[in-house]
Symmetry: C2
Subunit: 317 residues, 2 copies
């Protein structure tokens, strides 16, 4: 982040026709956004949403309410415009890209072996890196992958500690028996892979292709100085792997929402990212973060296009 | 609200390609919206924002951080496109109408007499009623009026009880001495006018023209079955007067946000309206409610345009 740019943005903000601070968090968002991208009069015009899809070896253990085939079926649904994220991206004026990652080749069951080889991890990170549009002025990344809340819970538990049960939730809506199996799978994975390396190595062992691709896209956005809105539990688990590899790696990100998935509130707290929205969503697909695009657009529209007290002839006290 | 329509909307919602309930409050919003307006495949396309402006006799008592001239100056700013609400309405695809109500004729100082005569109250209610576009499919009402948090605090205190200090906040940013005067003014007004009639009579005695106009617009929206998003403390105080006159009068409304103004959280609780956003805004001008337009648009876009499990060939379990 550029401290000079932030100071300039702060000075501009104080001249706008409103009582100081009256736009609350919108003002904080505008200063943060401008610390990554210049432009006193620049609004957000080209937000990009990317949904990465992958399949998971642990799906065979019965951790999800839906069969693994649903990952590919939902990719088709995204491509045909029928999913929630298609509608939410559209009403927020964002482009939507869908990247399916070797869906016919699930990761290994992480209770038995690392989920990915080094080559597979690098390929997935690269797919994420390559998917970012260099002309985007805001990025949202999300995912689709049956069983991926199991992977996210294992990553959070391995990197942040605590019991498997504290991080394991119902995902798309698994029943009590399924939740019990899921918690056991998370515990087994964490026991096998915890403390075996840094954030990226943990991502290789307990993550999945779509999680790695989200991490790669976040890193590319940092390289391009594109601010990022984080989505739900799985997206934040991928982000956590970056933060545990390089402190400050998420300074160009904000949390779009707090999902209803059990571990997400705690994960956001660990990341130090208060959510913009709390609407009880638990869908993934980047849906919550994409809803928050409108808030960022509003924040930057006010910052960029409001009149100053002098311009408008309004008394400032 | 139409219960049959709501049931039809619920049945449609359950077929959409997402786990049941995974869109959280967006699903509740969609069912509520459809209970007021039909149309399984109808998105929100013509939202209207109206900002009403009025001046207050109690401004002369020094209850605000800004002089009364700022009301008219800000109306000019709205008309020239320079205020926050201009930007927020624009990025949310809403039209913006500004209605200035006899700005050169402030209401009476309510510590001495009723703020408005019956004729003045009726004229302001009528101005609000007339400002609603019958073709709008969503309405947001907001206000501008130096000293109007004083009026709102007095209304809330008179209708809901409690001490003046519990309802009186810093508004646009009054200092400690100003807050003390403001609290005293609220207490005097409440002592003089409390219990003298129903919600509308209390609105006449302690309200203001822009508050009455907001109430009139909400009533007209009910008549036209146009759902309404409530804005901050002042808007909700106007709404409270309707609810105290006719129970259920706000069933066609949701709370757009919880503002940083001291009494708003408590007022929303009294209205039974949990806020969609909590971003610490305290600007008025319909700004918080207009930000929430994007959430309603997202909710209805998902409800109206998502594929069903059958259409998309996605396994529903």
């Amino acid at each position: 982040a550029d401290d000079d740019m932030r100071a300039a943005a702060d000075a501009h903000n104080m001249q706008l026709t409103k009582p100081p601070g009256a736009l609350g968090q919108l003002e904080d968002l505008a200063l943060w956004y401008r610390s990554w991208r210049g432009g006193e009069n620049t609004e957000i015009s080209t937000p990009q949403v990317i949904v990465f899809a992958g399949n998971h070896g642990v799906a065979a253990r019965g951790v999800s309410a839906f069969p693994a085939e649903v990952t590919a079926q939902m990719v088709m649904n995204f491509q045909h415009g029928g999913a929630a994220i298609n509608q939410i991206a559209r009403v927020n004026g964002a482009t939507l890209d869908v990247v399916a990652l070797d869906l016919d080749q699930p990761t290994a069951d992480f209770t038995q072996a690392p989920a990915m080889s080094e080559e597979e991890l690098v390929a997935a990170l690269q797919a994420g890196w390559d998917a970012v549009n260099a002309d985007a002025d805001l990025l949202v990344v999300g995912e689709m992958g049956i069983a991926n809340t199991t992977s996210a819970a294992a990553l959070a538990c391995a990197l942040l500690g605590g019991e498997a049960a504290e991080w394991t939730g119902r995902g798309t809506g698994v029943n009590d028996a399924g939740l019990s199996v899921k918690t056991q799978v998370v515990a087994e994975g964490v026991t096998l892979h915890k403390g075996q390396g840094d954030g990226l190595e943990t991502l290789r062992r307990l993550g999945g292709r779509e999680l790695a691709a989200m991490a790669g896209a976040m890193a590319r956005a940092r390289d391009l100085r594109i601010p990022v809105i984080l989505d739900g539990f799985i997206c934040c688990a991928a982000a956590l792997c970056l933060e545990h590899t390089q402190k400050g790696a998420l300074d160009h990100t904000v949390a779009g929402h707090q999902s209803a998935e059990a571990g997400h509130a705690r994960l956001l707290e660990a990341l130090g990212k208060p959510p913009l929205l709390q609407l009880g969503l638990r869908l993934g697909e980047a849906s919550g973060a994409a809803l928050a695009i409108g808030l960022l657009k509003g924040a930057m529209a006010c910052h960029a296009s409001m009149a100053t007290f002098a311009q408008a002839g309004v008394s400032d006290s």
